[in-house]
Point group: C2
Chain length 222, copies 2
């Protein structure tokens, strides 16, 4: 149990890495946690962390009991044609969470987030950096390149997309609004997909890239 | 302290009514609670409940420490021109909650909702019946009249509008997504207003009433 001793590979090592990661994420947040720091705390070689987990998102998904391979799923979404992104985000989200086990995991995640600031921070940094930020950046209409999501108000739009899905999940899995519980996944895709599309990769009805409403960028080159 | 004895009017009576209402709402949910039942439990004349509170929504707002006169605010929104509803909903929501005290109230409400099924049920029934259901019904494009929100998928649309605002509040007050915390109320109105508009009272760019996407109602008279 010495935290600095090297461990043999195997199930013990994997568990030790997960436990170390749980502590590092809780203390440092998602962004500041490094695989090197996790390895040091677990007393293993950093290469072993890479051996067992698909990078930091994979390790986080394991710690938070997130379903599915988030990095691969996001990769699939950003490779889609622009106009399919909104529907694909909603459909993928529901595939991940729309099961009795997924519902319980979401409830657990939200319970942690509303009662522990450090859990809220982990969820926030993970969602912005690995999920909606990547999608928004992939379909950004250009402009600045600051921040994890690209320039302009891309981070706000990525965040609001996350907020729409957090809201849908709150209604479907926690507050249990009858109309949202009863809706089929495809009904939700049909209704919510255009909203995500508008936030993440706005298109006009002709399929062209739309300007953001309100002229936030009016002084920039678009 | 006899629950059946008549009490004199005054601050004690008001407090007794609030406490009785808290218990009734928790046991019965929002929809099944009656002012008569609250009065009986508080041991007061039903007329006194009406004297102190603006009906069931007012009593609920008091019990849940909701800010503002919800019925009047919703009344103001449904009297607006159709195309202003989305922005007005977002602006009113932020006016109600966007203060240090409002933020704490929202956090308390969500903590109750994720840990107590009966709190989730109260929040759900109140939001559907008194807020978003009323708005969606006021701007319904016709069709059926079943359910508290009008026919067709009006209840789903009203619920998704509620979900978008619950999501925004989760990000701004609980998860503290930087871009959403830093955004001004008017930036949020500009970005989220069109989403609420689309859910509650869709309009085409020419201002005409829009058909719902996907033709859910295609077999009905529209």
């Amino acid at each position: 149990m010495s935290p600095r001793g090297r461990r043999p590979a195997g199930e013990d090592t994997r568990s030790a890495i997960i436990e170390a990661a749980r502590q590092e994420f809780a203390e440092q947040g998602y962004d500041a946690t490094s695989l090197r720091g996790v390895a040091r705390r677990a007393g293993v070689d950093p290469a072993l962390v890479h051996h067992y987990f698909a990078g930091k998102p994979g390790l986080f998904a394991e710690v938070m009991s997130l379903p599915g391979d988030v990095r691969a799923l996001v990769g699939a979404i950003v490779s889609l044609p622009r106009e399919e992104v909104g529907a694909a985000c909603v459909r993928t989200f529901l595939q991940l969470w729309d099961s009795p086990a997924g519902r319980l995991r979401f409830l657990g995640l939200m319970r942690s987030a509303v009662t522990h600031e450090e859990a809220a921070r982990m969820v926030r940094e993970f969602l912005v950096r690995e999920v909606f930020g990547r999608v928004a950046r992939a379909f950004s209409t250009g402009g600045g390149e600051e921040g994890p999501t690209g320039g302009g108000d891309a981070e706000l739009r990525a965040s609001l997309a996350a907020g729409q899905m957090v809201g849908v999940a709150m209604l479907r899995y926690v507050l249990e609004f009858p109309a949202v519980v009863d809706a089929s996944p495809e009904q939700l895709v049909e209704r919510v997909g255009p909203v995500l599309q508008g936030y993440l990769a706005p298109v006009t009805t002709s399929g062209a890239v739309a300007r953001p409403p309100g002229g936030v960028h009016s002084s920039h080159d678009e």
